[in-house]
């Protein structure tokens, strides 16, 4: 089973050879290099609640250059994750693949792993470029804890790609790209719900409804907080990413198992 999943993942990962992806890699490398001297992510506006949330606390903050790299990676995640399965279905490639002794869930996991690998490769290349830029400009490496903190941003890729892959199992490529983008924007807005609830008096009874809506989307704000690299928060962040990933992939698996691949 593992070999079959890895074979599909490899097939997906090979798409990196396409000129569009190569161009994106080169652009990310150059942009990360030129942004390597940007400071820790902080929103300077006074009294802004999000600024306080992101900047305060002890530990390592995410760097602005790595925020950029993460956003670029997520963009790649939308392009690759939302289009791969619908295009395989449109081109009937999926029939060739699942006609072999490959189960649909294995095909889905392979696709997911392939896209994740692409995104992680993209992130790592851009991160190396940012580090090289930092060394050339300052003659120093980033502190180890800061580096680790930046690499924890990778964990935002896994649920995000799972989410786009899930949408791609339901809709066509363009539609799933649009829905994934809208869902991302929606979840960023919803991530402020706990802050809002915290500030409202307890008697306001809409709290439970707000939380119900809030739980339908991942909270991507958690990835950009300042915290200690080794600690409960980091472990929780990893568990959070993996659990959402599993939930999204299970929904995707249910859909692809029942889907008519000829339509």
């Amino acid at each position: 089973m593992r070999d079959r999943i890895l074979a599909i993942a490899e097939l997906t990962f090979r798409k990196l050879k396409e000129p569009a992806f190569l161009l994106l890699f080169i652009f990310a490398g150059i942009a990360a290099y030129s942004m390597s001297e940007m400071e820790a992510l902080s929103l300077q506006k006074e009294n802004l609640i999000l600024a306080e949330l992101i900047s305060s606390g002890s530990g390592s903050p995410p760097l602005t250059s790595f925020l950029f790299i993460t956003c670029m990676t997520l963009l790649l995640g939308i392009f690759a994750g939302a289009t791969d399965i619908p295009r395989d279905i449109d081109s009937k490639m999926v029939l060739i693949l699942v006609g072999k002794p490959i189960r649909r869930t294995e095909y889905l996991l392979g696709k997911y792993l392939g896209v994740c690998l692409m995104c992680v490769a993209f992130f790592v290349i851009a991160a190396i470029s940012a580090n090289v830029g930092h060394i050339i400009k300052t003659g120093q490496l980033y502190p180890i804890s800061t580096m680790f903190r930046q690499f924890l941003l990778i964990f935002s890729i896994f649920p995000f790609v799972a989410m786009t892959v899930m949408f791609s199992c339901f809709f066509s490529d363009i539609t799933s790209m649009i829905i994934a983008s809208v869902y991302l924007i929606f979840s960023i807005f919803l991530s402020t719900i706990p802050l809002l609830v915290e500030m409202l008096p307890k008697s306001i009874t809409i709290t439970s409804y707000l939380y119900f809506i809030y739980y339908t989307c991942p909270n991507f704000l958690f990835y950009f907080l300042t915290y200690k690299v080794i600690g409960l928060v980091s472990i929780s962040l990893i568990i959070y990413s993996l659990s959402i990933t599993v939930i999204f992939l299970m929904i995707a698996s249910l859909r692809i198992s029942s889907r008519d691949m000829l339509s």
């Binding site: 949330l53 409202l200 909270n219």
Partner: protein, 231 residues
Amino acid sequence: MSYSGRAVSITFVTALFLYFYSESVLRQAALSKLKSPKFSAETILSRLPVAFRNSARKSLELAKLKDAVKDATNDSDKVRAIVNLALAIDNNKEKEKLFKEILKLPPVPESYPAYSYFLLDKRPEMAISIKDYQKYINNCPKVSRFEIWNNGLGTLESKNVSLMQMKEYLAPLLNEIPPYRDYSVLYERIADIALKSNDNALLEKSGRLLEKSLTRPPIMEEYNKKNEKAK
């Protein structure tokens, strides 16, 4: 259920559990940073458009008052919180419901808006008689009584009760030495009633007590002394 079906269910439930658990840890970690007092509901309100701000502020104030009722630890605090909530609510039915709730609690000086609200109410099952109101006043500390007398008087005036009922209400004041200067207002009112009803004896007595009340210290002085002692 097949083996794979069971495995899927178990995986899904475990993932859900881990999702909620890890989310709650991350949420608490994030919110612990927002303990600064500058971040409050006011911060949100100040960012709302003016059109929504006033109605939102009213709702927030009511919610805060409801919180105060829930958080009250003793009868006195609870009554004070309910009174504040009742006075802030525009809906009369809701207000009345809250005042009824106060009457169920042990009487404390802070309960007076509820007692005053039902004083000589038209509905007999809810009405508080003049005698009961006076009994309630006598159970309150001396320093709080003037406010309660005055509030009851205001209610009776708004209900246009007869001179006889006014006399009956204020009668106990004629049998005690005025404790504070503020009582002069009440004696002036008794004098008015005496004039209207041509009751010379009452006029004379109220005049004497009015003069006496003017020689007494004001209630504020008593409060200040109490506050200084508390410090």
